[in-house]
């Protein structure tokens, strides 16, 4: 497992949901840090599971999300930073 930056995770997240952003007329660079993918209609409850699994697979990071604030689960910035933190050497 290598250390990944929040920007890398953000790019992967936004690439994953790009068609749905486009349907909303949004480009990835227009997505704010506090953009909530769930409440903005980009992903549904199943989509968050797929998104987390995709990030885990892409970066080979395994997370249990117990220490992630549920309110941040679907928010681009905090979610990206969470995976960055989890990719640090020695992080659990």
């Amino acid at each position: 497992m290598r250390h990944v930056s929040a920007a890398e995770v953000r790019a992967v997240i936004l690439d994953h949901v790009a068609p749905y952003l486009e349907a909303r007329g949004l480009k990835p660079e227009q997505v704010a840090d506090d953009f909530d993918l769930l409440t903005e209609g980009i992903i549904d409850s199943m989509g968050i599971l797929a998104l987390i699994a995709m990030i885990e697979s892409h970066f080979e990071i395994k997370v249990d999300m117990e220490d992630l604030d549920p309110e941040h689960l679907t928010v681009v910035g905090p979610l990206s930073r969470y995976f960055e933190q989890k990719s640090r050497p020695g992080a659990h």
């Binding site: 769930l38 409850s45 199943m46 968050i48 599971l49 987390i52 699994a53 999300m65 992630l68 549920p70 309110e71 689960l73 679907t74």
Partner: protein, 186 residues
């Protein structure tokens, strides 16, 4: 009471007046206000066995002919336009077993999503979640989220989805089931 035989299963037709009353109550329950009060009371009057703190959404259809074969536990949410079917013609239980017979069991803290269909002879385990539009054809283990037609397990739930549970907290405690795990052999 008229009795006839259909194959190996003795069949007793439904008394007309009782059936008419059941259906009238069902029709009123479809759109009456009061998801925790009036609708629940109407379905209990029909014979559905319903626990405490249950929410029944608009346009929910619960077994027309044999409502007493449906058992719903405590803190259950049955969302709008769901349908619960407790019998198929030709697969009825023997007459002598009809009083205590239960075809559909929905255990405590189950969430049934909008537009779901629950077919006869299934148990939905405690704390499980049926995603919107799913068709439940087989029993579901406790604390399991299912989706699709036929409904298949897609995640383990660490917390039940009750009306007190924030959606994001519920989502953060879901654990996806691997593709090879929990699939039925259809």
């Amino acid at each position: 009471m008229p009795t006839e035989s259909r194959g190996d299963t003795p069949f007793r037709s439904e008394p007309f007046l009782r059936g008419l009353g059941n259906r009238l109550l069902q029709v009123v329950a479809l759109y009456a206000p009061g998801q925790t009060t009036v609708r629940v009371w109407l379905h209990r009057r029909r014979g559905v066995r319903i626990g405490n703190d249950v929410r029944i959404g608009t346009d929910v259809l619960i077994e027309t002919a044999f409502p007493e074969w449906v058992r719903i536990g405590d803190h259950v949410i049955v969302s709008m336009r769901s349908t619960i079917i407790a019998h198929f013609e030709g697969s009825l239980p023997p007459v002598q077993e009809k009083t205590a017979y239960v075809s559909v069991r929905i255990e405590d803290e189950v969430f049934v999503g909008p537009g779901s269909i629950i077919l006869p002879n299934v148990t939905i385990g405690r704390g499980s979640v049926v995603s919107a539009g799913s068709v439940v054809t087989r029993s579901i283990p406790p604390m399991t989220m299912v989706q699709g037609n036929p409904a298949r397990p897609i995640a383990h739930c660490e917390v039940p989805l009750t009306y007190r549970t924030p959606l994001k907290e519920f989502l953060s405690r879901l654990r996806p089931i691997q593709q090879t795990e929990g699939l039925h052999s259809d």
